[in-house]
């Protein structure tokens, strides 16, 4: 398995954060029953990087992603996409944001069964009423190895192929950031590794920004950086992780007290 550490090229980002969270809080219920899903999270995600958010079940990692992507509303605090505070946007602006600036990759793929792979990939552009950038489309298809599969419907594709179509769909509008929610959760380990490699290639070769939520240390190791989260708080940060480092970090969250930095200073 490829575990070489990727060092970003100069000028490819790392300087300006693509996504930022400031005191981001989300609570469910009231009074006695109040549950803090996120308890004041501050975190930056660099542009042109592949970042993994990792934590055990119920740690709040999914909630963090929902809030950063504008899928759910925060109780307090702010979430920025570039300079836009998305916690202040209404449904119309959020829809526009999702069209142009954010891409999603889901655990269940969520392709539309009645459309071909090609139609699924180009759908976001069509919904926005734009025209497909054919050169970009060709690049994506080439990078993700979908050339022979374009006329197939989802039912005729393997899980890995379906997830690659989903990645192409997330990237077709050249969004500022792609959120991937457990993208390998429904795949066997071979297909999972393949999908993760493609995600990494998208960052390296195509200069995209990807934020991936996962509970799998092996998957997290494909990222440039791992943000550990536990009990709704940032619990650690690993740069250039190896699977072992990621696993150690995750284990530390389970056994040690929260907010102990593991594997490097946060």
């Amino acid at each position: 398995m490829d575990t070489t550490v990727y060092v970003p090229l100069d000028g490819m980002g790392a300087g300006s954060p693509a996504v930022r969270a400031r005191s981001l809080t989300k609570t469910y219920g009231k009074g006695e029953a109040e549950v803090h899903a996120l308890a004041g999270v501050d975190v930056d995600f660099a542009e042109g990087r592949f970042t993994a958010i990792m934590g055990p079940s119920g740690s709040g990692k999914s909630t963090l992603m929902h809030l950063l992507a504008g899928l759910d509303s925060a109780t307090s605090g702010q979430a920025f996409l570039g300079t836009t505070d998305i916690t202040r946007l209404g449904d119309r602006d959020l829809t526009a944001l999702r069209r142009d600036r954010v891409g999603f990759v889901f655990q269940q793929f969520n392709l539309l069964p009645m459309f071909t792979a090609e139609q699924n990939i180009t759908l976001p552009v069509e919904l926005a009423g734009g025209t497909v950038d054919q050169a970009w489309f060709a690049t994506l298809v080439e990078t993700l190895g979908l050339r022979d599969r374009l006329s197939h419907r989802p039912g005729e594709l393997s899980g890995g192929q379906q997830q690659r179509v989903a990645i192409a769909r997330a990237l077709i509008a050249q969004p500022d950031v792609v959120f991937a929610d457990e993208p390998t959760g429904n795949l066997d380990s071979r297909s999972g590794a393949e999908v993760l490699s493609f995600l990494r290639r998208s960052v390296r070769e195509l200069g995209r920004t990807i934020i991936m939520v996962t509970h799998d240390p092996a998957a997290a190791a494909y990222a440039d950086r791992v943000v550990l989260i536990a009990d709704g708080k940032i619990a650690g940060d690993i740069t250039d992780p190896t699977p072992e480092a990621a696993l150690a970090g995750l284990d530390a969250l389970r056994t040690l007290e929260p907010s102990v930095a593991v594997g490097g200073d946060a």
């Binding site: 759910d72 829809t95 655990q107 969520n110 769909r169 997330a170």
Partner: protein, 881 residues
Amino acid sequence: MPGTRFPTARLTLGQMRRSAGRLTAAGVAIAIGTAFVTVTLLAGDLINRTARDMIAAEYATADLVLSVDDPEGLTRYDDAAVTAIADLDGVAAVQPLAAFWGDLRHAGKGSYQVFVPAPSHESLSPLELTEGTWPARSGQIAIPPSVVERLGVGVGDTVTLQRSVYPDEAETAQGGTGEGSVEGEAEMVEPVAQTDELEITGVTSDPYGAFTGTGGAVAATAGDVAAWTAEEGADVSYEEVLVALDEPLTGTEVPADLRDALAGAAAATGMAADHVAVETTEARAAAKTIEQTGGQDLVFMVFVLTFAAVALLVAGLVITNTFQVLVAQRTGTLALLRCIGAGTGQLYRSVLLEAAILGALASLAGVAVGAVLTQVALLVAPSFDLGIPLPSAISLTATAVVLPLLVGIAVTVLAALSPARAATRVAPLAALRPADAPTLRGRAGRLRAVLTTLATVGGFGLLGLGAALGLAERPDVGLLAGVAGGAISFVGVVLGSVLWLPKVTAAMGRLVNRSGPSARLAVANTLRNPRRTAATSTALLIGVTLVTMMSTGAAGARQSADTMIDSEFATDIIVAPGSDETIDEVRSAVADVEGLAASTAIAGSFVTLGDVSDLSVNAVEPDALPGVINTPEEAAKLTTGTILLTEGAATSLRVADGGTITATGPDGTLDLTVAVTTAGPLNRIITTTDLAVLDADAVPHAVWARLATGADATTVLSDVQDATGAVDDGAMVIGPAAQAAQFRQVVDVILGIVVGLLAVAVVIAVIGVTNTLSLSVIERTRESATLRAIGLSKGQLRRMLAVEGTLIAGVGAGVGILLGVLYGWAGSVTALSLMGDVQLVVPWTDLAVVVGISLVAGLVASVLPARAAARTSPVAALAVE
């Protein structure tokens, strides 16, 4: 075995609770259908009761009704028998039921009325006196309000009775009063017109509606009624005699000694005692109702219930659809149940039990709604002054409650049979596989394809045969073949729709595909479950086909009637004076009537044309003719020196258009140029100038008049009748335009009723569209969320569902209209060809309305599901179940 039955029931109830919303929508469809049946049954009962009440009203509050029980129908009560009965001890009064028809006239207006004897006893009269007194002596009458209004007379006035008198063989009784003397043999007796002056002594009312059908009755003395009847040549005898007793009857039976006494009294005057039937008023009314309606109420019920059946069929389609989706959605649960040991039979029974419970609840609701609607209609009806005394409350008969209930449950269970079978096909293994989007993949059987194709092709063949037979002037056999063919082909079309309707939808979808991503998504969604979409469209197709068929048929009937009337009558109104001397008065009377565009006099004579003698010719002023004729361009061909002939007439006279024919009248001879006309009524018309040469004594004998545009034909006709009625000797008024208008009105009323009845089926189908869309929305929650996550706006999501709704509805309406027009044409050709050339009319306005309603309905049907879909948060796309 409670061990196996109980879990099934518990499972069913649990499933129903989870699917309550969806089941409710399906239940509404069944409820509407059963409400329809309930209303029909209750209305049938009301009609029956109203008829019985009207018949009973005639008997007033008599204790007994004597009628005749004679299989040969020869026995009747004569005056001697009536007197004998009246003289019996214990009999307070008797009243034979008699009726005489005559024409009451006053100041040029007339009213044809039924005359009945003034009551001998207050309990024997259905009429009540509201003003003045009952007629006490010969020559006096009491009149109903309708006559007061029509003739403009009141108590103390005198009116004229016009009646016919048939002189008896002795020819002495009425000799000399009539202007026409009797000639020829005795059996060729000609009636003689007789007039009597009658004094109005009172005004009556008919509170129980005994004379509703005749607009009230005129009361005269019993002697007058008997005398007029006798002078008309009819026997003075009665079929029924009302009896009031000194002591009112107790109980519902007629005591045997009373019966014997009455029969004996009648027998003493020569009647056969066993022909005398003695019944209480109620018993007689009930028996006579059955006799008179002769099962017509049953015909009415069957007619309306046919439409209820259509509504229930459509409801059945909606139910089948709903259960198919429910079963598909429950695949996981069903498979789990199979895994833990549930048998296929248990699952099958569970679905059917669910259907039965749904059917029972929905039908109960339907019966309740139907009963309430009927009662509300009864409460509202009196304010429309229908002239019929209606009961004030419905009576919930057992039939009206139980029958709709049973039918509703049966339809629901039957509709659920195929989804229930689908439930048994769920493999236990399915529980172990993550089922993404459960869809029922039914294999549209080859057998179905073959059978429905056969039915469709064969049915249309029969329909064509029917039309051919109709054209061959055998509409009786043709109609039989046509109706059978229409029904068979429609069954084929409906049952086969799942096979071909998806292709139609795809083709229509390609048309809307280009209009944006929402439309493309919608089209793709519509096609992903072709069977469900087809079934939903079919539900609408049924209603639209029938509505279109009816309006196409009606348009054809109207057109044919118009054509027939135009070809048989030259003009809108024809007036022929009672005698030639009054023609000028009639002309000026007609000219004064408002609502007429023009009128002109027609003269006539008999002349020899070529070598054919004694042909009638009509003559008009050529300048006036185009103004009064329906076909002015034909009228323009008439100039002095020409004669208009139809093609047929010209051929038989052996002349051609532009040729010359010699006309010879009593006073002269003319060579006339032949102008062939296509207008039948203009045959053998010349100018008045030419007629004067041929026959100097020829005088006008009729007036032709044409309606002003926008004038109401019926009103103007009635005005012309009133105006010319004031002229001595009166005039005969024929109103082809009014006939046409009346016919059109009858067609429109029938069409309105039928379309109204069919509209119920359309409403149910619209509910079906909503249901299908809601189910799709629920099924596609994850998909909608994904679309929202990748940038579909709420508006686009709503638009997508709106396009889906209109596409489903549009396909149903489009195909329905094509079929309906076809059936309507076939029906017109088969039934109407006797009336002349049938024109295949397309009622564009009606069709536009049907399409418009269907599309709007599809659009409206998408509103609620779209709201639900738009509420879906994009987060749902991320959820793992």
